[in-house]
Symmetry: C2
Subunit: 362 residues, 2 copies
């Protein structure tokens, strides 16, 4: 290793699809990062729900490449193993959370208490109870990186933080934060039936196995909640005005029952699409966050507006502020996907690593 | 001052409109930045072409508020004064360049050599000779912050850098980087005459005093050149394929002569607008950067495309990459203006200040 190269230790929770891609991207760019930043990103721990590998001085290439999803190791107490790993780390280090778990809070808390940094693509710790969110902020506001919790790799969170800290005043954040629902509604634009579009999306793997996980809008509400909390609102998830895309009583059905009954919604959606169309509008599933409000639901918007012209699985976020007033600041692009989400996590790791080491003085 | 608060010294060149706004925004957020980041941003030097104030331990509030444009001080040798100030700084510190000067290179060079950081809204040092650009990169690639050189406060440069360092491959960057020309062409869309639109824009102060400074496209070419250099192209400004909006021979005229002869271009532009319209297209002044090419000029683009639907003075930048392939990453919004440009400079100052101090460990 070159003289002057600084080692950054990484612990990584959640080696699923996104997690694996993060590991692969980092390993592929390892030499370039040593060269450009004098930073050596060293994996010391990789953990899934069932499995884990840990070596305080760095894992071997072979262990990093191992497939943790195979039960190659004896079953272990993962929680104990992760807490032990955090104990063993010399600060500062980075804990990466690419799980979809709501149980990683103790690991994040312990890391921040020890002076470590956390990088999250996992929304749950920030969209859980307000108390939990405030605890994390109190412990290490500036050591939490979470660019990918809204819009995957799109530069949303850093843009919001920059607006706030430079003294801009946000009047409204509006956007579409679900690629799945974006796809559904741009298909509806073409005149297809609601049930047909949902069934096709399910078949193509665009929806969760239970499409109600998308249609209910909870994932979008979580993203809106996180944005509202960054604006200083003290809301719980249940405080968000969320209108999902199916009637509550259909939540009781099995997935198969739901898929066969979804046809009953076709007329209602056909009517909504038609009404919107007569006004030059289209339907979109929109999140709106102001200084006091946070609402998520179906809206008819001008077809030629930024939101109305959104196509396919793209996400969009629109910041209206004191400084971006006549014309807002708009960011648009794929808001999901392994490669772009992993790249967003990776960029967060690099941002925190540069701060940890106090920059490099060439 | 609180325990644990770290002082960051600032030297600032160019206290014109943008510079003044940067100073004002920083002073307004001073307490908040101490609170949130434990950073005390201390102005030690302010310099215009003719004037300067400097105190190595920090200027008084009164001196910071002083209007340097008034010849309140005896004439001084500014170059000598700035070089002396850099000498006096304890590293690391930040040198801010919000001038429009092509003569600040020696100050940037000296700062980087000393281990300091530079924050630029001034394009000239990065769009000057390739040798100069490479010198700056060699001296302190990671200590140069220049978010505002393309698209003002829009998150363009950091997004590009994140794409590159995480191993994405850029196939094309395309965009409109002139609010003035954006305004002109969305006016032309409405059927107005070219001369009429230019005259109106000049009257409203949207153009430079000599509108050819906008119509020639050199400012856009500089931005494209900087992007191409970040992609690794070794080009000079003269290598950019630039097609301006008036014939070369009209460059010899006085401003008044040019404004009276501009009517001669009306038929040509009316024809171009008409031809585009018959194909569902509109005219836009577009910069295109690929791995090997860099061109700037008038193009007819689909009216419903991201670039075609651009309205008024908005800028847009579109990244097409290996990861953002089917759908690109798009950023849009005002790409000029005092408040948004100053906020971009301010955010760069905060980013570098956090790295200088190695973060804050709450």
């Amino acid at each position: 290793m070159d003289r002057g190269v600084k080692k950054i230790s990484l612990l990584h929770l959640g080696i699923g699809n996104v997690g694996k891609e993060v590991v692969a991207q980092i390993q592929a760019q390892k030499d370039e990062i040593v060269k450009q930043f004098g930073l050596d990103l060293v994996y010391c721990g990789l953990f899934t729900v069932r499995n884990g590998v840990f070596a305080p001085d760095g894992l071997s290439e072979e262990k990093i490449r191992n497939d943790l999803s195979e039960a190659r190791y004896a079953p272990v107490d993962i929680e104990k193993m992760v807490l032990h790993a955090i104990d063993e780390m010399e600060t500062p280090f980075i804990l990466i959370d690419t799980t979809a778990s709501d149980s990683t809070f103790p690991f994040l808390e312990k890391t921040l208490k020890k002076g470590g940094y956390v990088v999250l693509s996992n929304k749950k710790p920030l969209a859980g109870s307000l108390k939990q969110f405030e605890n994390l902020q109190r412990l290490g506001k500036n050591r939490i990186y979470c660019e990918t919790v809204v819009g995957a790799g799109l530069p949303v969170i850093q843009t919001l933080k920059n607006l706030l800290i430079t003294g801009d005043e946000i009047s409204e954040i509006q956007g579409c934060f679900s690629g799945t629902l974006g796809y559904l509604f741009s298909q509806l634009d073409t005149g297809k039936k609601f049930s047909e579009v949902v069934m096709q999306a399910k078949k193509l793997g665009y929806t969760e196995p239970d499409p109600r996980d998308d249609l209910g809008g909870v994932d979008v509400a979580r993203k809106a909640l996180i944005l509202s909390r960054f604006l200083g609102q003290k809301k719980e998830l249940s405080d968000i005005a969320l209108t999902g895309l199916y009637p509550k009583e259909m939540g009781m059905l099995s997935v198969d029952e739901f898929m066969s009954e979804i046809k009953k919604l076709d007329d209602e959606y056909a009517e909504k699409v038609k009404n919107a169309k007569t006004q030059g509008k289209v339907l979109r599933f929109v999140a709106t966050v102001t200084q006091t409000d946070c609402r998520v639901g179906l809206e008819a918007v001008e077809k030629t507006s930024d939101i109305g012209s959104l196509q396919g699985p793209d996400n969009i976020i629109i910041f209206k502020t004191k400084r971006y007033f006549d014309n807002p600041l708009v960011i648009k692009g794929p808001g999901a996907g392994l490669a772009v989400t992993a790249a967003g996590v990776f960029a967060d790791i690099l941002s925190s690593a540069q701060i940890i080491t106090g920059g490099i003085h060439e």
